[in-house]
Amino acid sequence: MNPAIGYTALIAVSLATTAIGFYGLRISRTTSDFYVASRTVKPWWNASAIGGEYLSAASFLGIAGLIVISGVDALWFPIGYTAGYLMLLFFVAAPLRRSGAYTIPDFAEARLESPVARRVTSVLVVAVGWFYIVPQLHGAALTIRTTTGLPSWVGAAAVAVVVCLTVVTGGMRSITFVQAFQYWLKLTALAVPAIFMLLLLAGTPDSAAQLATTPPAGGILPPAAPVTGASVYGTLSLMVALLFGTLGLPHVLVRFYTNPDGAAARRTTLIVLGLLSVFYLFPTMYGVLGRAFLPGRDSGGFPDATVLLLPGALVGGPLGDVLSALVVSGAFAAFLSTTSGLVVSLAGVISQDVLGGSVRGFRVAAVVAAVVPLGIALVTDSLALAGSVGLVFAFTASTICPLLLLGIWWRGLTDAGAVAGMLTGGLLCGAAILFGSQLGPEAPWRGVLVQPAAWTVPAAFLVAVLVSRATRHRRSPSVSRFMAKLHVPERPLAVDEPRPQGG
């Protein structure tokens, strides 16, 4: 691929992001614009922003890559990523918005009235965030290597530097609009080349015939295994991880505070469901096309690069170059938006809990939040983006999800119970992932260990409930008041009551 494409795309996306961040909120100089300024973010905008922040390297590159490797089974990932929002909609969105806490540790402290619970939550949130940033940087490394031929570390370092600079200089001032822009950029970057490719294929009977006569080994899509085969457990466990893991992702939750009230938070979540569903059509399409038309897919190459290579391979010529540039810019938008969202929320947690919560501390914390995962990304090597992100979801589901669900819906949760549940889930899940990856592919318990969510999540819930029951006397005295705050609809924010109209 022409290296210029990669450079152009990277620079264009970084500039656009920064420009919107700085100039997104200029407001003209008359009092009549007051209404415009004090208007809160509409659910549509906020939903786009959540989509922009949520659709990471795993969604943009990883799903197509997995489809290329394993066929239909990979479709469970987009289903889980999207359906997690259903759980968020039902159980968490509105009450969490009403709680008034800005980070998950804030929520833990307000609900449990315990600094220890806050500390434990902070550590877990930071761990989750770091391990979520690592696959984004791996994705960037892969993209740079594939498109420009530069060494992989350049991609990871570039993303980390751009994110650090924008966050530290305050370039993410109007972060909602930046992220919303990123969603539409990602959608366009996948949709436009996809449409071109489909048109091209429809117009050239040769390729359609080739597809029909010489299907790739194992068929275009090998038969689905999860329902019939031995991997029922794996699929179930993956679904548990993705459904419950979405509840606890720090960068997603913080977006909900942009909503003016709980009802708007629910509406936003509903729109997010729609936006994600539309988006995930395209990675699936790329995966199928990749299986059919991208040669050498099983030759130990990088299946995650399917999305990047497909437009160039299928369309070719100058048009192919333009489409490739579009896809690459979309991929960078994915890395940048998810990473910056995570860095901002991690910096909030770190600066508050370690550095005393000053504005300068926030900047230092932002650098720490980006540099540590960069270090991990540089010395490690990920084989499948969707898979490693799936593990982060499993870890989140086993730790933060019990705290949120029980904290919101069960007044019996005590600080001791929450801490015990989080630690149990975290230790079990972490140990299972580490040991599971040690075992050979034929080891009997490997499947159970590499997809641990199905048993670690119930274990974490169980421990949290049992310990809470055993430590009833530790219940926070103000729990009733806090519960009422979580579940009673609030007064609308700055809305005029109707006035009787006279002559």
């Binding site: 909120l25 200029r26 407001i27 003209s28 100089r29 008359t30 009092t31 614009d33 007051f34 300024a37 004090s38 809160t40 973010v41 997995l66 490797i69 394993s70 089974d73 990979a74 709680s99 008034g100 806490a101 800005y102 980070t103 804030d106 305050g170 001032r173 109007s174 909602t176 991997s231 794996g234 505070y257 942009t258 003016p260 600066s351 508050q352 919560g357 504005v359 926030f362 991990i376 010395v379 490690t380 090597d381 990920s382 084989l383 499948a384 898979g387 490693s388 799936g390 593990l391 992932i433 580490l434 990856s437 490997r446 499947g447 590499v450 997809q451 705050k485 924010l493 700055a494 005029d496």
Partner: protein
């Protein structure tokens, strides 16, 4: 589909990190222990003093919130070791709060029994020594290990010479030494309770101060607005009507009684009404510019903490200025904080004079600033007062930074 998602190098790295963290934790724990144990050297008498002071300090910690059952129980444990008696009880003026001791057969005796014992002391505020006779021993539930207990020493707890409770000590023989020691402990607990009362009255005072500082709508503004509206009644009745409606909205917001906090969004709407009314007077001379990050609109701020700043900019900054004046209001998202700035290009003021006003040494103009500054410091601490940049002829830039997370404050 299951592919090795963590490669060997990842694994190695994670294991290495875990090992390093564990090693650091162990070294830190051992080092902490070592430094602690070296400090414990001293003579027997010094040890006794340390132990006594430690018990007293620990008990004082538990009495920080006054006479509460949970704190009283924890303090009683410390105080019983201090007095070295068989049983120690603490009551307030109506019920038994805490009972610590192993001499009773079935845990804690009934509240009314102990209160019967303490009734006389509560009545006259003097130390009593009561003899434990047969029926009383039964009521107290003294079991086998309590047979040698013959007497109870009851000392009053006084706050400002008012009896608020008492402590009860059970012992074998009421020696003069024990009575005196019990009296001293009671005096010490009384001092702690007075401190607790002082602390609670200090926070009540702070609350009252915040309430008293709650900004009032300025009388000048009412007068000016009504005059401005009057001037439109004949020439532009529709505008006059609109202005009256705005005025009604503004007053409704600023006269509201509930809550000491509001959201940035509501405060901005109030400012909008205020500026519309001022615009009726200033016309084209008053220009306003806004840059508000929508993420911070739901930040909780003290009620009427921004409007006085805008009013200050208009009345003291722009009114005296010749020609057009511009007020800029910005709100920015700073991670865990929200920063709001209000800037005008009006006449400004002498920084020294402003310092006098903020310190409360000068009355007159700009009292609104001092009021807001005092409330912000009261609510969020001294680090969150107003920051003001100004100079004569150079306008004024006021900024305030409030934390986004305020779980205790409901808008």
């Amino acid at each position: 589909m299951p592919s090795p998602v963590l490669s060997d190098s990842t694994l190695l790295l994670i294991t290495a990190i875990a090992a390093v963290v564990a090693a650091i934790a162990i070294v830190a724990a051992v080092g902490f222990r070592l430094t602690r144990s070296q400090r414990d050297l001293g003579t027997e008498a010094e040890h006794a003093t340390f132990a006594t002071l430690h018990s007293a300090a620990a008990a004082g910690e538990h009495l920080r919130n006054g006479l509460q059952p949970a704190g009283a129980l924890k303090a009683s444990r410390q105080l019983r070791t201090l007095l070295n008696c068989a049983a120690f009880a603490m009551t307030d003026d109506a019920r038994l709060l805490a009972w610590d001791g192993t001499v009773t057969a079935a845990g804690q005796p009934g509240s009314d029994v102990v209160m019967g014992l303490a009734a006389k002391t509560l009545g006259n505020g003097r130390t009593q020594v009561a003899t434990l006779d047969g029926p009383l021993r039964g009521e107290l539930g003294l079991g086998q290990n309590g047979t040698e207990l013959k007497a109870a020493v009851i000392c009053p707890l006084k706050v400002e010479s008012r009896v608020v409770g008492c402590i009860v000590v059970l012992s074998g023989t009421p020696t003069a030494g024990l009575v005196r020691a019990t009296n001293e402990v009671a005096a010490w607990v009384s001092a702690q309770l007075e401190l607790a009362e002082l602390a609670s009255s200090r926070s009540l005072l702070a609350e009252a101060e915040v309430r008293a500082l709650r900004a009032q709508i300025s009388p000048h503004f009412i007068y000016n607005s009504l005059n401005a509206i009057a001037s439109f009644i004949n020439t532009d009745p529709q505008r006059a009507r609109d202005l009256v409606v705005e005025f009604a909205d503004f007053t409704r917001y600023s006269f509201r009684r509930h809550g000491d906090f509001t959201t940035l969004a509501e405060e901005l709407r109030c400012i909008e009404k205020y500026l519309l009314l001022e615009n009726a007077r200033f016309g084209e001379r008053l220009q306003v510019s806004l840059r508000i990050a929508p993420e911070v609109l739901s930040t909780v701020i003290p009620f009427l903490s921004l409007q006085p700043l805008v009013e200050n900019a208009v009345r003291h900054g722009l009114e005296a200025k010749v020609g057009r004046g511009l007020v800029q209001i910005t709100a920015r998202d700073l991670g865990a904080f929200t920063e709001v700035t209000i800037e005008d290009d009006g006449v400004g003021m002498d920084p020294e004079q402003l310092r006098q006003v903020l310190a409360g040494r000068q009355d007159g103009h700009h009292v609104g600033l001092r009021n807001v500054d005092a409330r912000l410091r009261q609510v969020y601490g001294d680090a969150h007062g107003l920051t003001i940049d100004t100079g004569v002829g150079h306008g004024m830039l006021i900024s305030m930074t409030v934390p986004k997370n305020q779980p205790g404050h409901d808008a």
